[in-house]
Symmetry: C2
Subunit: 135 residues, 2 copies
DNA sequence: CTAAAACCTGACGTTGACGTCAGAGGCAAA
DNA sequence: TTTGCCTCTGACGTCAACGTCAGGTTTTAG
Protein backbone atom coordinates (compact mmCIF):
# COMPACT_ATOMS: atom_id res chain seq x y z
CA UNK A 1 0.00 0.00 0.00
CA UNK A 2 1.27 3.47 -0.83
CA UNK A 3 1.27 6.48 1.44
CA UNK A 4 -1.97 8.02 0.22
CA UNK A 5 -3.97 4.90 0.88
CA UNK A 6 -2.47 4.45 4.31
CA UNK A 7 -3.34 8.04 5.05
CA UNK A 8 -7.00 7.68 4.12
CA UNK A 9 -7.22 4.31 5.83
CA UNK A 10 -5.79 5.50 9.10
CA UNK A 11 -7.29 8.95 8.96
CA UNK A 12 -4.09 10.95 9.23
CA UNK A 13 -2.42 13.18 6.69
CA UNK A 14 0.30 12.14 4.29
CA UNK A 15 2.53 14.74 5.89
CA UNK A 16 1.97 13.17 9.29
CA UNK A 17 3.03 9.76 8.00
CA UNK A 18 6.23 11.17 6.56
CA UNK A 19 6.79 12.92 9.88
CA UNK A 20 6.33 9.64 11.74
CA UNK A 21 8.95 8.05 9.54
CA UNK A 22 11.28 10.96 10.19
CA UNK A 23 10.80 10.41 13.92
CA UNK A 24 11.53 6.72 13.62
CA UNK A 25 8.01 5.64 14.44
CA UNK A 26 6.99 4.16 11.13
CA UNK A 27 9.22 2.53 8.56
CA UNK A 28 8.46 1.89 4.91
CA UNK A 29 9.81 -0.19 2.11
CA UNK A 30 10.90 1.82 -0.90
CA UNK A 31 10.23 0.96 -4.52
CA UNK A 32 12.98 1.49 -7.08
CA UNK A 33 11.65 4.96 -7.79
CA UNK A 34 11.74 5.83 -4.11
CA UNK A 35 8.07 5.63 -3.29
CA UNK A 36 7.05 4.34 0.12
CA UNK A 37 5.19 1.06 0.41
CA UNK A 38 3.61 -0.16 3.62
CA UNK A 39 2.52 -3.61 4.72
CA UNK A 40 -1.00 -4.13 6.06
CA UNK A 41 -0.17 -3.92 9.78
CA UNK A 42 1.06 -0.36 9.25
CA UNK A 43 -2.50 0.90 9.64
CA UNK A 44 -2.72 -0.63 13.09
CA UNK A 45 0.63 0.84 13.94
CA UNK A 46 -0.53 4.29 12.93
CA UNK A 47 -3.61 3.89 15.10
CA UNK A 48 -1.38 2.96 17.99
CA UNK A 49 0.83 5.96 17.36
CA UNK A 50 -2.22 8.21 17.32
CA UNK A 51 -3.40 6.64 20.54
CA UNK A 52 -0.12 7.40 22.26
CA UNK A 53 0.05 10.92 20.87
CA UNK A 54 -3.45 11.39 22.18
CA UNK A 55 -2.28 10.39 25.62
CA UNK A 56 0.28 13.16 25.56
CA UNK A 57 3.39 11.15 24.76
CA UNK A 58 6.10 12.80 22.70
CA UNK A 59 7.59 11.36 19.54
CA UNK A 60 10.71 10.43 21.45
CA UNK A 61 8.82 8.56 24.13
CA UNK A 62 6.66 6.79 21.57
CA UNK A 63 9.76 5.75 19.66
CA UNK A 64 11.14 4.25 22.84
CA UNK A 65 8.00 2.41 23.81
CA UNK A 66 6.62 1.28 20.47
CA UNK A 67 8.71 -1.89 20.10
CA UNK A 68 7.75 -2.66 23.65
CA UNK A 69 4.04 -2.33 22.97
CA UNK A 70 3.96 -3.91 19.54
CA UNK A 71 6.45 -6.73 19.76
CA UNK A 72 6.13 -7.23 23.51
CA UNK A 73 9.86 -6.83 23.79
CA UNK A 74 11.20 -4.96 26.73
CA UNK A 75 14.32 -3.98 28.58
CA UNK A 76 14.48 -2.95 32.22
CA UNK A 77 14.58 0.70 31.18
CA UNK A 78 11.68 0.44 28.79
CA UNK A 79 9.64 -1.35 31.43
CA UNK A 80 10.29 1.53 33.80
CA UNK A 81 9.27 4.05 31.15
CA UNK A 82 6.18 2.03 30.43
CA UNK A 83 5.15 2.01 34.06
CA UNK A 84 5.94 5.69 34.43
CA UNK A 85 3.80 6.61 31.43
CA UNK A 86 1.00 4.40 32.68
CA UNK A 87 1.06 6.23 36.00
CA UNK A 88 1.13 9.58 34.25
CA UNK A 89 -1.90 8.63 32.21
CA UNK A 90 -3.61 7.42 35.34
CA UNK A 91 -2.99 10.74 37.05
CA UNK A 92 -4.26 12.51 33.97
CA UNK A 93 -7.45 10.47 34.07
CA UNK A 94 -7.92 11.40 37.71
CA UNK A 95 -7.41 15.09 36.98
CA UNK A 96 -9.75 15.00 34.02
CA UNK A 97 -12.37 13.24 36.10
CA UNK A 98 -12.18 16.01 38.68
CA UNK A 99 -12.48 18.63 35.99
CA UNK A 100 -15.45 16.87 34.44
CA UNK A 101 -17.13 16.58 37.82
CA UNK A 102 -16.59 20.24 38.40
CA UNK A 103 -18.18 21.08 35.08
CA UNK A 104 -21.01 18.69 35.89
CA UNK A 105 -21.65 20.54 39.10
CA UNK A 106 -21.83 23.82 37.24
CA UNK A 107 -24.12 22.33 34.64
CA UNK A 108 -26.36 20.83 37.28
CA UNK A 109 -26.46 24.08 39.18
CA UNK A 110 -27.47 26.36 36.37
CA UNK A 111 -27.56 24.15 33.36
CA UNK A 112 -31.31 23.96 33.03
CA UNK A 113 -32.77 27.11 31.51
CA UNK A 114 -35.83 26.89 33.77
CA UNK A 115 -33.87 26.63 36.96
CA UNK A 116 -34.13 30.34 37.42
CA UNK A 117 -30.48 30.87 38.19
CA UNK A 118 -29.46 31.70 34.69
CA UNK A 119 -30.52 35.32 34.85
CA UNK A 120 -28.67 36.67 37.80
CA UNK A 121 -25.91 38.15 35.70
CA UNK A 122 -24.88 41.76 36.38
CA UNK A 123 -26.74 41.69 39.66
CA UNK A 124 -25.54 42.02 43.21
CA UNK A 125 -25.05 38.34 43.99
CA UNK A 126 -22.56 37.78 41.22
CA UNK A 127 -20.89 41.09 41.87
CA UNK A 128 -19.90 40.59 45.48
CA UNK A 129 -19.92 36.87 46.05
CA UNK A 130 -17.06 36.11 43.74
CA UNK A 131 -13.90 37.53 42.25
CA UNK A 132 -14.88 38.73 38.83
CA UNK A 133 -12.60 39.26 35.89
CA UNK A 134 -13.09 43.00 36.10
CA UNK A 135 -12.24 44.17 39.63
CA UNK B 1 -0.74 40.19 47.26
CA UNK B 2 1.76 40.96 44.51
CA UNK B 3 2.49 38.85 41.48
CA UNK B 4 5.48 37.01 42.89
CA UNK B 5 3.62 35.76 45.90
CA UNK B 6 0.66 34.66 43.81
CA UNK B 7 3.06 32.83 41.56
CA UNK B 8 4.71 30.87 44.38
CA UNK B 9 1.38 30.24 46.06
CA UNK B 10 -0.30 28.88 42.98
CA UNK B 11 2.76 27.18 41.60
CA UNK B 12 2.84 28.90 38.23
CA UNK B 13 5.36 31.34 36.82
CA UNK B 14 5.10 35.10 36.96
CA UNK B 15 5.15 35.10 33.18
CA UNK B 16 2.17 32.78 33.10
CA UNK B 17 0.16 35.08 35.36
CA UNK B 18 0.87 38.05 33.12
CA UNK B 19 -0.10 35.92 30.16
CA UNK B 20 -3.38 35.01 31.84
CA UNK B 21 -4.11 38.67 32.32
CA UNK B 22 -3.29 39.33 28.69
CA UNK B 23 -5.77 36.63 27.72
CA UNK B 24 -8.48 38.08 29.88
CA UNK B 25 -8.46 35.22 32.37
CA UNK B 26 -7.13 36.99 35.43
CA UNK B 27 -7.51 40.64 36.33
CA UNK B 28 -5.46 42.63 38.82
CA UNK B 29 -5.71 45.88 40.66
CA UNK B 30 -2.87 48.25 39.98
CA UNK B 31 -1.01 50.34 42.52
CA UNK B 32 -0.08 53.92 41.62
CA UNK B 33 3.28 52.74 40.37
CA UNK B 34 1.60 50.20 38.12
CA UNK B 35 2.29 47.05 40.11
CA UNK B 36 -0.31 44.31 40.08
CA UNK B 37 -2.12 43.43 43.28
CA UNK B 38 -4.38 40.42 43.65
CA UNK B 39 -7.09 39.58 46.15
CA UNK B 40 -7.01 36.26 47.98
CA UNK B 41 -9.42 34.36 45.72
CA UNK B 42 -7.03 34.89 42.81
CA UNK B 43 -5.10 31.81 43.91
CA UNK B 44 -8.18 29.65 43.55
CA UNK B 45 -8.88 31.21 40.21
CA UNK B 46 -5.40 30.35 39.00
CA UNK B 47 -5.88 26.77 40.16
CA UNK B 48 -9.09 26.64 38.18
CA UNK B 49 -7.39 28.05 35.12
CA UNK B 50 -4.66 25.44 35.42
CA UNK B 51 -7.29 22.76 35.77
CA UNK B 52 -8.98 23.82 32.56
CA UNK B 53 -5.71 24.19 30.66
CA UNK B 54 -4.88 20.71 31.84
CA UNK B 55 -8.10 19.45 30.33
CA UNK B 56 -7.02 20.78 26.98
CA UNK B 57 -9.11 23.95 26.82
CA UNK B 58 -7.67 26.95 25.01
CA UNK B 59 -7.35 30.42 26.50
CA UNK B 60 -10.29 31.57 24.44
CA UNK B 61 -12.53 28.79 25.66
CA UNK B 62 -11.47 29.28 29.25
CA UNK B 63 -12.19 32.98 28.96
CA UNK B 64 -15.68 32.15 27.76
CA UNK B 65 -16.41 29.60 30.44
CA UNK B 66 -14.70 31.06 33.49
CA UNK B 67 -17.49 33.43 34.54
CA UNK B 68 -19.85 30.52 34.08
CA UNK B 69 -17.83 28.23 36.33
CA UNK B 70 -16.85 30.78 38.95
CA UNK B 71 -19.90 32.96 39.30
CA UNK B 72 -22.39 30.33 38.17
CA UNK B 73 -23.66 32.74 35.58
CA UNK B 74 -24.57 31.36 32.22
CA UNK B 75 -26.14 32.20 28.91
CA UNK B 76 -27.65 29.67 26.49
CA UNK B 77 -24.44 29.73 24.43
CA UNK B 78 -22.15 29.27 27.39
CA UNK B 79 -24.28 26.40 28.60
CA UNK B 80 -23.86 24.72 25.24
CA UNK B 81 -20.10 25.27 25.32
CA UNK B 82 -20.01 23.93 28.83
CA UNK B 83 -21.81 20.75 27.86
CA UNK B 84 -19.68 20.36 24.75
CA UNK B 85 -16.47 20.65 26.71
CA UNK B 86 -17.77 18.24 29.30
CA UNK B 87 -18.45 15.69 26.57
CA UNK B 88 -15.05 16.28 25.05
CA UNK B 89 -13.41 15.64 28.40
CA UNK B 90 -15.50 12.55 28.83
CA UNK B 91 -14.38 11.21 25.47
CA UNK B 92 -10.82 12.03 26.40
CA UNK B 93 -11.17 10.07 29.62
CA UNK B 94 -12.49 7.11 27.67
CA UNK B 95 -9.61 7.24 25.21
CA UNK B 96 -7.06 7.59 27.98
CA UNK B 97 -8.59 4.66 29.81
CA UNK B 98 -8.21 2.52 26.70
CA UNK B 99 -4.62 3.61 26.31
CA UNK B 100 -3.88 2.86 29.94
CA UNK B 101 -5.48 -0.55 29.65
CA UNK B 102 -3.38 -1.28 26.63
CA UNK B 103 -0.24 -0.34 28.48
CA UNK B 104 -1.41 -2.43 31.41
CA UNK B 105 -1.74 -5.40 29.12
CA UNK B 106 1.79 -4.92 27.88
CA UNK B 107 3.09 -4.50 31.40
CA UNK B 108 1.27 -7.60 32.56
CA UNK B 109 2.54 -9.57 29.61
CA UNK B 110 6.21 -8.83 29.96
CA UNK B 111 6.44 -6.41 32.79
CA UNK B 112 7.94 -8.77 35.33
CA UNK B 113 11.65 -9.34 34.75
CA UNK B 114 11.34 -13.00 35.68
CA UNK B 115 8.52 -13.75 33.31
CA UNK B 116 11.02 -14.93 30.77
CA UNK B 117 9.53 -12.97 27.91
CA UNK B 118 11.88 -10.07 28.17
CA UNK B 119 14.70 -11.68 26.25
CA UNK B 120 13.14 -12.71 23.00
CA UNK B 121 14.41 -9.65 21.17
CA UNK B 122 16.13 -10.20 17.81
CA UNK B 123 14.75 -13.69 17.64
CA UNK B 124 12.33 -15.33 15.25
CA UNK B 125 9.11 -14.68 17.15
CA UNK B 126 9.52 -10.95 17.20
CA UNK B 127 10.83 -10.92 13.67
CA UNK B 128 7.90 -12.55 11.90
CA UNK B 129 4.99 -12.10 14.23
CA UNK B 130 4.87 -8.34 14.02
CA UNK B 131 5.72 -5.37 11.89
CA UNK B 132 8.94 -4.02 13.21
CA UNK B 133 10.24 -0.52 12.74
CA UNK B 134 12.99 -1.78 10.46
CA UNK B 135 11.45 -3.84 7.63
C1' DC C 1 0.70 8.88 -25.54
C1' DT C 2 -0.74 12.24 -22.66
C1' DA C 3 -2.85 14.45 -18.92
C1' DA C 4 -4.18 14.04 -14.31
C1' DA C 5 -3.24 12.34 -9.98
C1' DA C 6 -0.06 10.77 -6.69
C1' DC C 7 4.50 10.86 -4.94
C1' DC C 8 9.26 12.71 -3.83
C1' DT C 9 12.62 16.02 -1.15
C1' DG C 10 13.52 20.24 1.01
C1' DA C 11 12.34 24.05 3.27
C1' DC C 12 9.73 27.58 5.39
C1' DG C 13 5.19 28.73 8.02
C1' DT C 14 1.85 28.03 12.01
C1' DT C 15 0.03 27.82 16.71
C1' DG C 16 -0.30 28.15 21.77
C1' DA C 17 1.55 28.80 26.21
C1' DC C 18 4.66 30.35 27.84
C1' DG C 19 10.58 31.29 28.53
C1' DT C 20 13.92 34.69 28.41
C1' DC C 21 16.26 38.90 27.94
C1' DA C 22 16.87 44.07 28.04
C1' DG C 23 16.36 48.25 30.10
C1' DA C 24 13.97 50.97 33.45
C1' DG C 25 11.66 51.78 37.59
C1' DG C 26 9.78 50.61 42.61
C1' DC C 27 10.31 49.17 47.63
C1' DA C 28 12.00 47.68 52.23
C1' DA C 29 16.10 47.14 55.13
C1' DA C 30 20.65 48.63 56.94
C1' DT D 1 21.50 56.19 50.56
C1' DT D 2 22.67 52.30 48.83
C1' DT D 3 21.99 47.60 48.31
C1' DG D 4 19.33 43.99 46.64
C1' DC D 5 15.23 42.10 45.27
C1' DC D 6 10.79 42.70 42.97
C1' DT D 7 8.19 44.50 39.31
C1' DC D 8 7.14 46.78 34.83
C1' DT D 9 6.70 46.78 29.45
C1' DG D 10 8.06 45.14 25.14
C1' DA D 11 9.82 42.07 22.24
C1' DC D 12 12.00 38.08 20.50
C1' DG D 13 12.82 32.83 21.28
C1' DT D 14 11.07 27.96 21.83
C1' DC D 15 9.09 23.56 20.88
C1' DA D 16 6.27 19.92 18.82
C1' DA D 17 3.42 18.20 15.31
C1' DC D 18 2.40 19.00 11.66
C1' DG D 19 0.56 22.51 7.21
C1' DT D 20 1.90 24.31 3.00
C1' DC D 21 4.39 25.47 -0.96
C1' DA D 22 7.89 24.81 -4.76
C1' DG D 23 9.80 22.22 -8.23
C1' DG D 24 10.44 17.89 -10.02
C1' DT D 25 9.51 12.57 -10.91
C1' DT D 26 6.26 8.51 -11.17
C1' DT D 27 2.13 6.12 -11.74
C1' DT D 28 -2.27 5.54 -13.59
C1' DA D 29 -6.51 6.38 -16.39
C1' DG D 30 -8.34 7.23 -20.82
Amino acid sequence: MRIGELATRSGVSVRALRYYEEQGLLAAYRSDSGQRHYPEPAADRVQLIQMLYGAGLSSRTIAELLPCVEAKVSTPESRARLAAERDRIDAQITALTHTRDRLDTVIAHCGTPDSGCAWIADQDVAAEASYSAAP
